[in-house]
Symmetry: C2
Amino acid sequence: MPTYTAPVKDLQFVLHDVLNISASDIPGYDELDADFTNAVLEEAGKLTGEVLAPLNVVGDQEGCRLENGVVYTPTGFKAAFEQVKEGGWPGLDMPEEYGGQNMPQVLGTAVGEMFSSSNQAFTMYQGLTHGAAAAILAHGTDEQKNKWLPNMVSCEWTGTMNLTEPHCGTDLGLMRTKAEPQDNGSYKITGQKIFISAGDHDMADNIVHLVLAKVPGGPDGIKGVSLFIVPKFLVDDEGSIGARNGVSVGSIEEKMGIHGNSTCVLNYDDAEGYLLGDLNKGMRAMFTMMNEARLGVGMQGLSAAEVAYQNAVDYAKDRLQGRAVTGVENPEGPADPLIVHPDIRRSLMDQKSFVEAGRAFILWGAKLLDASHRKGDKDADGLVSLMTPVIKGFLTDEGYDMTVKAQQVYGGHGYIEEHGMSQFTRDARIAMIYEGANGVQALDLVGRKLAADGGKHVMAFFELVKTFCKENGEDEALKDFVGPLKAASKDLQAAGMYFMQAGMKNPNDALSGSNDFMHLFGHVCLGLMWAQMAKAANVALEAGAEDKDFYETKLTTGRYYMARRLPATGMHLARIQSGGDTVMALAADQF
Amino acid sequence: MPTYTAPVKDLQFVLHDVLNISASDIPGYDELDADFTNAVLEEAGKLTGEVLAPLNVVGDQEGCRLENGVVYTPTGFKAAFEQVKEGGWPGLDMPEEYGGQNMPQVLGTAVGEMFSSSNQAFTMYQGLTHGAAAAILAHGTDEQKNKWLPNMVSCEWTGTMNLTEPHCGTDLGLMRTKAEPQDNGSYKITGQKIFISAGDHDMADNIVHLVLAKVPGGPDGIKGVSLFIVPKFLVDDEGSIGARNGVSVGSIEEKMGIHGNSTCVLNYDDAEGYLLGDLNKGMRAMFTMMNEARLGVGMQGLSAAEVAYQNAVDYAKDRLQGRAVTGVENPEGPADPLIVHPDIRRSLMDQKSFVEAGRAFILWGAKLLDASHRKGDKDADGLVSLMTPVIKGFLTDEGYDMTVKAQQVYGGHGYIEEHGMSQFTRDARIAMIYEGANGVQALDLVGRKLAADGGKHVMAFFELVKTFCKENGEDEALKDFVGPLKAASKDLQAAGMYFMQAGMKNPNDALSGSNDFMHLFGHVCLGLMWAQMAKAANVALEAGAEDKDFYETKLTTGRYYMARRLPATGMHLARIQSGGDTVMALAADQF
């Protein structure tokens, strides 16, 4: 069975050596000294490693089942959920007034990585609740907040997000679910929603569905969509649970992975609902939390890669097969461990160098979100908005590939379910799809974010890279980092320039390269992370840090990324610059 | 449910317009005129599309089950297997003297693609039989051939290959299964074999296991391994089936995919076996058929990509979602079909341009094998041996990626099992692993094939590319092809040069780049295929071919590959040239 050990040390390195969070002036960050974050991370590490990780395979094998309208989660999930609630984890970064601990998102994100690595399907129950609670927090009336939030912050009640319908996913303007206004100010919701994660289950007393629907007579398309709170059980003014509402589970979807999460078809039949936010502004309300939600999904790519990598390393050290090409390394054994073989190392280094930089990238994003939310830093907000599709799209695409590489290390043993490596890939696959499929992320990046505010934020990004390269260009200890970063950034700028010129003439020329641009951007971001991490490692080494080995390993891993992964930027640029002609040339029936 | 339509026209194009098989002087090719191959392909297309494809999902969902020692295949498999046998398909390229039709491998490969596309798990039952029969054909005594082959060629009896044991996969020298010689010349086989595809089932009267085992007292390691014929039921001299032999099914493996194939743990307990080929030369006997077997697995990568692509195209044309960025294209509908969106097209073009060139690559490989086997062409044999790891490793790596891309076109509907897109990826995943994991293919390519016969075959490959470029460099109609091919080939040569220089000093420098070299080589091969196909398309167009549209589509698709896919060679070269330092630098405990 696969295991999971929380990467506390590496998270601490990013938080303190790289992002230097406790020295930041973001409100709440002063509490985050190394001892404090260490204590939190250790505790979360224990829970996730010892309680949630062992349930990961159980969830996959048992799945959820629907019996007489009731959804049952896999063995052990309910007890584990109680432990998670008792620890107060769901409310870690929620406001104190609703029972949360008001920690910054950067810490919630570090903890979230562990939860997601250990058991993605399980973690989604609280993840969706978090998202729904955040939407109510942002758009609810005081009455709504007081009524729903305390139980959601504690996860006594969980939450869901209801967007998709059978005939509409990305294009929500096609939505058919109706909300009929009632005399008492409430609405009657009727329609079918599909792919509803954590849609129903036996772990909470109530489920608070956030449902997008159209009020008849409103504007056509996306402009007529509103957001509603629709509880599974009605709740009276004293907060007591009352009658069952008109929402039922049609079925549980059979999926490729995340079997431990109940992905439901939900049927709404005159269900009582309450408008959340403004009428016909449902999309805005749903998407206020978009950057956070997409960062959370990006993290799933990273976290899946992390746990898959950990197990691949263990296997590569244990499994004896063949001899090192440069001479026997395990003379007492019948063969050398897999890890002596260059191609196995190539794969492990791909994974390691991705995971560590991805972690820094995500936590940097979370820090920017904190700066935006906690001190109204508009530049931080613009920058993280720009990078959000990259975090989501690039980290989940790459994260998935890394789980496939980890699985490959196991050979045939990776293909059978026994070792759990197949599950990591099957679970990771969804992150490329939900919360906006990665093609939509790429479109958002190229079609919207790049030019937002007159291109100000992308210029700020380039400036950041340029400044780093300028300030550290003479540092001999960083020579393996600054040069490649500069070259990769140049590719990114050339691609941006191409879009500005070609995209003006024909948007297809730009959009044909959107996926490549997202990946090109992602590589530059991870290159920047590696350069910054290398600098932090050098600083620590010069300061005579105790754990020399940790920092030297960091530098070696970074050098690998710069030498082996970053050259992808040239390929992406070439593809982008080839334009849209070959992409768009065929008529539909020529495919 | 997904569907499958055999690409008869495209196969015909490759066989006749590109490879010009009927004009070839390979014995047996004179029969292969366009009418004949068309008739065969149409017939195979009907069977695979109408009978096997509908069973693909059934096989996935039901899987195989073991009850009281008996393995049952999924509903419908047995009846379909009868149809396949009645059609004589298993013996298509087998010798007439054993009941086969003696067709060249190039035709068997074209038909094989269809079988594999329509139902990979099902097709493996006959695929393994074919492999085992080929080994007996090559190494058996006349008595053995007469005893086993007729029933195997007809698939009345099926076959298996038994290599892997729990502790040894690639490194077969660690094998523990024993073969004790008996007085009557037979052997008693005892041991456990795992991952045995088609290991047991209810579709044949007998199963002929080919088992690698060690005769006690023989040489250590791989040099003491022999190959044995071990039937499920003993067969007397008259060919009648007798007593059950000492081989039983321990369990059926739970796998990520190919559920319709019974992958078994087989326990041998004093099972009667018969030496096949020479004592202690088991590996040689098993691997005589290696090029064919690996070409067959490479084809699975391609065939999975083909069927996934077909369904992705259908979905992209049907599913209405969003509007084209350049203006509404489906004004009567509520939205435009997905296929209007550039990033969806980018994905479909990736798939289409891969599949069509991969098909040509495989069939070229099969033609070279025919030239080797049927007229003893040593150069053809050397060239196909060189390219075999590329065919297997590159086409299965890329093929898998393409199924993931096809799945992505479906968005959330690709993640649920209902549409069958998840199955294509889960099934395709195994091809990267079995018949030598792709890391082993890359090692074989760089560590062995490149330098084989003093590098003669790789030089021949370069010469081939060079000649094409020289002969067609002035052809304006091929300018989008020759230039990129030349550049990609230059990258490949530079990589080869690097290996020769660096690899001499430290083999780790070469082997660290082995995976990249395999992919670089693969891209150049597909680039060459596209250049040749473009030339053939131009010839047809100039000759006033009827189906202009087909040939023009071919040219456009090829231009896409040259512009968008071929630039990967530069990235692979950069990685290769970065050497082994960053790959090998970490100690095992630093991972």
